[in-house]
């Protein structure tokens, strides 16, 4: 498999889409801390590194979808995946070579954001306010999440033979995941009660009544929503970007589970796939 990986990495080194994503992440890592500092410049308040350091997770999630669809989809559109099969490479090895290349690309994008952000942000901002344990936990999420997303998009790219279709599906999927995550977050944030004001027209007295919010999630339903918010990549993207997570230590584990399930499913389907 090493020769397949080597061929993929050489192709990656010359891939315009990869370098475009890489440069975008570097530019975002300059833009975010600078803009944050400018926005609070007149208030006398100084931003901390926490604010914006994990924003890269949101960007990288979208860019991985674009990159995996195009990079792996090219193997089908140019027909070059056939060259690997014809000369007798195992399908599992071919699958893993793309998976590892895509994971590497995703992590490289994430890494460049972190490094550039620290280089620009450290002189401009206050140090991290998070304790080391929490910081490491969020770094683990930021590493595992692109890995899990790469596994999902590699699976899609390996089982859908059309580059255009897989490109669209990957990008749509990540936006749907983020929209789903936003919706679940919105439902979880519903207040348990809300205040109902009533006015008496004659004497103008105002009465405040605390009423139960019918949209508030309770019991098993709340647990299911919370689990989905923690488990699904869209929810993880939001939690990591905003540093707001109730179950942060669980998220990397969930990403690991997503990685294993999508890779296993992808390999099973790809091994049985009729390639044209």
């Amino acid at each position: 498999m090493s020769n397949l990986l080597s061929a993929n990495f050489i192709r990656l080194r010359k891939n315009k889409c990869f370098w475009g994503c890489f440069l975008f992440m570097a530019a975002a890592a300059v833009y975010v801390p600078v803009m944050r500092c400018i926005s609070v410049a007149n208030s006398g308040y100084k931003e901390r590194l926490d604010n914006g350091f994990f924003f890269g997770t949101l960007f990288v999630s979208i860019l991985i979808a674009v990159f995996c669809g195009l990079f792996t989809g090219t193997e089908y559109s140019d027909g070059t995946i056939r060259n690997k099969l014809i000369i007798g490479h195992r399908r599992t090895h071919i699958y893993f070579s793309y998976l590892l290349t895509n994971v590497f690309a995703g992590l490289a994008m994430q890494a460049v954001y972190f490094v550039v952000f620290l280089c620009i942000g450290t002189p401009l901002m206050e140090p991290f306010s998070l304790n080391t344990k929490t910081l490491l936990c969020f770094i683990a999420i930021a590493v595992m999440l692109p890995t899990a997303l790469s596994a999902i998009f590699t699976m899609l790219a390996m089982i859908i033979s059309s580059k255009a279709t897989v490109g669209v599906i990957c990008v749509l999927s990540i936006f749907l995941m983020i929209i789903a995550g936003t919706y679940i977050n919105f439902r979880l944030r519903e207040p348990e009660t809300y205040t109902n004001y009533s006015f008496t027209p004659e004497d103008g007295l105002r009465e405040e009544l605390e009423e139960k919010n019918p949209r508030y999630l309770e019991g098993t339903e709340r647990e299911v929503y919370q689990f989905l918010y923690d488990f699904l990549p869209g929810g993880q993207v939001l939690q990591c970007s905003t540093l707001d997570s109730k179950n942060a230590p669980r998220l990397p584990v969930y990403s690991g589970i997503i990685f294993i399930i999508s890779t296993a499913a992808g390999i099973i389907i790809f091994r049985q796939k009729d390639i044209k």
Binding site: S6, A7, D78, G79, T80, R82, K84, L85, I86, D274
Partner: protein, 306 residues
């Protein structure tokens, strides 16, 4: 005879459609095997199975004596080079980079032979031009160069001259002949262009509805294809009377045209016709050829297709 490829009752079914239906074929070592059949006959499906892109539904095949169910089939596939339908090349890479990619996945120790390979297919001067800017013929030749990267003993080419201009067709033909005659590479070549196949192939396999209708060598085909004399005369009724007298086999095409099979004495025939005031306007030898042989073999369906 030693065979590079043997298939036995090979079947491939896509849902309710039987693309291959008990196909038996044998490709002799050192041959150029012309694989003839109309669209949908199963040519490309067979090639996909041989290349490991798809798995057969039933039946078996062996490449260099190794059965497709044997795990060592991967080793025998290492001896194959193939261009399936379109050339498998990275369009955003140069010819040289494409070959380097193939060398890497083949784990070849050095790139030294890349220039020779590019020279062999006539792409040595393409420099930094990317494959997406190549003509169809250049892409096809690059596809063949990629297929030749591992020094294969068996080359499979699916419709290699499709869409090429006459010059491109000649170049590909010369390349295939060169590979076969100078390097001893066995070639399995599928094509619609029967005239082109007739110039190349040493053996033919005719496929229809997913099975081989006939396998024949070029020498046997030549013997089987009857030669005839095509005549244009002023009156074929006189011609038929004269030919009946001589006991020749013939076919009347129209009032003025006929075909005579077998050896004839042209002078004798001309004198006899002249004596009955029948003028010979033109005369020429015709070869039944691969096309007619194929049509006779596969039937009217093929004629409509042609």
């Amino acid at each position: 005879m030693e065979y590079v490829l043997k298939t036995n009752a090979l079947k491939k079914q896509y849902r309710n459609y039987k693309a291959l239906n008990g196909l038996n074929m044998n490709v002799p070592k050192g041959s150029i095997y012309g694989f003839v059949g109309k669209n949908g006959a199963g040519k490309t499906t067979l090639i996909r199975l041989l290349c490991g892109l798809q798995e057969p539904t039933d039946g078996e095949f062996s490449i260099y004596g190794i059965n497709n169910r044997d795990k060592d089939i991967r080793k025998s596939r290492r001896r194959i080079g193939a261009v399936v339908e379109t050339p498998s090349i990275y369009l955003d890479m140069t010819a040289e980079d494409n070959l380097k990619q193939q060398y890497r996945i083949l784990e070849l120790p050095s790139y030294d032979s890349i220039n020779d390979l590019l020279r062999l297919v006539g792409l040595e001067n393409t420099g930094k031009k990317k494959a997406k800017n190549f003509s169809l013929g250049m892409r096809q030749r690059l596809g063949i160069a990629v297929a030749l990267s591992g020094n294969p003993d068996f080359l499979i080419l699916d419709e290699p001259v499709n869409g090429l201009d006459p010059q491109g067709i000649i170049e590909i033909r010369e390349l295939i002949l060169d590979l076969n005659q100078k390097q001893g590479i066995t070639v399995l070549i599928s094509s619609h262009i029967l005239d082109e196949l007739a110039r190349l192939a040493t053996h033919f396999g005719f496929i229809d509805k997913g099975h081989i209708v006939k396998e024949i060598s070029a020498a046997e085909l030549e013997a089987a294809c009857r030669k005839c004399i095509h005549l244009t005369v002023s009156d074929t009724s006189i011609l038929s009377r004269v030919l009946d007298e001589t006991g020749m086999e013939f076919t009347i095409i129209s009032n003025t045209e006929a075909e005579i099979f077998g050896e004839i004495s042209v002078t004798e025939l001309a004198l006899k016709l002249s004596a009955q005031n029948c003028e010979i306007k033109s005369m020429g030898e015709r070869d039944e050829g691969l096309e007619n042989y194929y049509i006779n073999l596969v039937g009217e369906g093929a004629r409509r297709y042609e």
